[in-house]
């Protein structure tokens, strides 16, 4: 963890990104390499041993994130992860050739294991280490200000008052898990905001929710 953490992926509410380019159902990849990049990323997680929060952190901190297409982001992040987690050396990555054999102790995803691995997925729920602090209907205030690590609290919803709508149980805490600090599970809630509490000029009759871990939240006064 450094003293600053620059995510380029926190886009909610920002402007100037141009029109939405809709595509019909059934378009999955635009180039063969996109499919290979997706599959490589999924498969390399087995020997690499990184978790989903580390992957997201590797992507969102790419300095040229805004200029890259989606699978360019995945490819650049994968190149980072394979070096950071010791699968290849920087020299091997630059040369594109292996200078020494891999570590046979690392796990490899084989073709016959794919279906089971996908079906198993990676559940994020964990046994809670204590009771939930909040219950449905409670008013809460979200954490304000910047943090020095991978966050999952969108900027537009930081420092805002909302209402607990659902309690999801304890889930792996990305803020710690992304940095190799362990899972540190915390209670996870759906917090819903009136759009007018997020943006003063919002049209009434719109609400936005996020899923937020307990450390993001503090009690707020009930709405009078």
């Amino acid at each position: 963890m450094g003293t600053t953490y620059d995510s380029h992926a926190d886009l909610g509410g920002s402007t100037g990104h141009g029109p939405i380019e809709h595509e019909p159902e059934g378009v999955v990849f635009h180039h063969g390499w996109e499919a290979r990049a997706l599959a490589l990323t999924l498969a390399a997680g087995a020997p690499g041993g990184w978790n989903i929060d580390m992957s997201r952190s590797a992507r969102e901190t790419l300095p040229d994130y805004a200029e890259l297409s989606y699978y360019e982001i995945w490819t650049s992040a994968l190149e980072r992860l394979v070096v950071e987690h010791g699968l290849v050396t920087p020299a091997e990555l630059a040369a594109g050739t292996a200078s020494e054999p891999g570590d046979p102790a690392r796990r490899v995803l084989t073709a016959d294991q794919v279906a089971d691995a996908l079906a198993r997925g990676g559940p994020a729920d964990r046994p809670p280490d204590g009771p939930a602090r909040f219950t449905v209907g409670d008013r809460v205030l979200t954490r304000a200000g910047s943090v020095d690590h991978h966050p999952r609290l969108p900027g537009y919803a930081a420092g805002r008052a909302g209402t607990i709508e659902r309690v999801h149980g304890a889930h792996v805490f990305p803020d710690a898990n992304a940095h190799g600090l362990g899972e540190q599970p915390h209670w996870l809630y759906t917090v819903v905001f009136e759009a007018t509490d997020l943006w003063p000029d919002a049209v009434p009759g719109q609400r936005v929710s996020i899923d937020a871990w307990e450390p993001y939240l503090s009690p707020a006064e009930p709405v009078s």
């Binding site: 995510s7 926190d10 886009l11 909610g12 509410g13 920002s14 990104h17 939405i20 380019e21 809709h22 159902e25 378009v27 999955v28 180039h31 063969g32 390499w33 499919a35 290979r36 990049a37 599959a39 490589l40 498969a43 020997p47 989903i52 997201r56 989606y70 490819t75 994968l78 394979v82 699968l87 290849v88 594109g96 292996a98 046979p104 690392r106 490899v108 995803l109 073709a111 794919v114 996908l118 079906a119 997925g121 990676g122 994020a124 729920d125 999952r152 609290l153 969108p154 999801h168 889930h171 792996v172 996870l188 819903v192 759009a195 009759g205 719109q206 609400r207 936005v208 929710s209 899923d211």
Partner: protein, 207 residues
């Protein structure tokens, strides 16, 4: 190089990204860390087997079976799992039902979270800055761009998928479908209607 995989673009030999991804695949394969056959299997899974037709089955079942709809509302992961749709990026499912009072739609402003087992891989627009940035701020405007008009007295509700919970929108069953089979109904259910940026197809248009 050369694991015999297909490339569907016309200029693959000239595309720097193609070269880069091939090089990484070759390197990881040569180190013994990646099984190219596993890559083929992963791609085939999401290109041919796991996609929005899965979600359409879930929705169609909910339209004909009130107990299943209630199960979806109470424990969507289990209800969806009962149809065989489980696993990666669908470990913790929540189903939200469109009503006359509320129109739901789903986004991931921070990355590209999306319920893979029921909808497959997300479309490019869902993962791109224009949708992610605008839909939380101007959902009615975004819906209008998708051709969906929501009456002023209907609340618009945006679900930003910021954790590992994945959201599936259950659209309203179109009128004029009395007596339709589940299979027929599933044909009306579009991907966009399960994200909340579209509506089911008009029954008159498919009969």
């Amino acid at each position: 190089m050369g694991h015999g995989h297909d490339h569907d673009d016309d200029h693959s030999e000239l595309d720097p990204m193609d070269v880069r991804v091939r090089a990484l695949e070759t390197l990881l394969t040569d180190k013994g860390y990646v099984d190219p056959a596993a890559l083929d299997e992963l791609i085939d899974t999401y290109q041919t087997r796991v996609g929005p037709r899965n979600g359409a089955q879930v929705v169609a079942r909910s339209w004909v079976d009130p107990e299943f709809l209630a199960w979806l509302a109470g424990d969507a992961t289990a209800a969806i799992g009962s149809l065989g749709f489980v696993g990666r990026q669908g470990e913790h499912m929540v189903a939200v039902e469109q009503t006359d009072a509320t129109h739901h739609l789903v986004v991931c402003t921070l990355c590209s979270c999306y319920p893979w087992p029921v909808l497959g891989l997300p479309p490019t627009w869902y993962k791109s800055a224009p949708y992610r940035s605008r839909v939380v701020r101007d959902p009615r405007g975004v819906l209008a761009e998708f051709g969906v008009t929501v009456r002023d007295d209907v609340e618009v509700r945006v679900w930003d998928s910021t954790a590992e919970v994945r959201y599936l929108v259950i659209p309203q069953r179109p009128a004029g479908t009395d007596g339709w089979t589940e299979e027929q109904l599933a044909e009306l259910v579009t991907r966009d209607s399960m994200i909340g940026v579209g509506l089911p197809l008009d029954p008159a248009a498919v009969t």
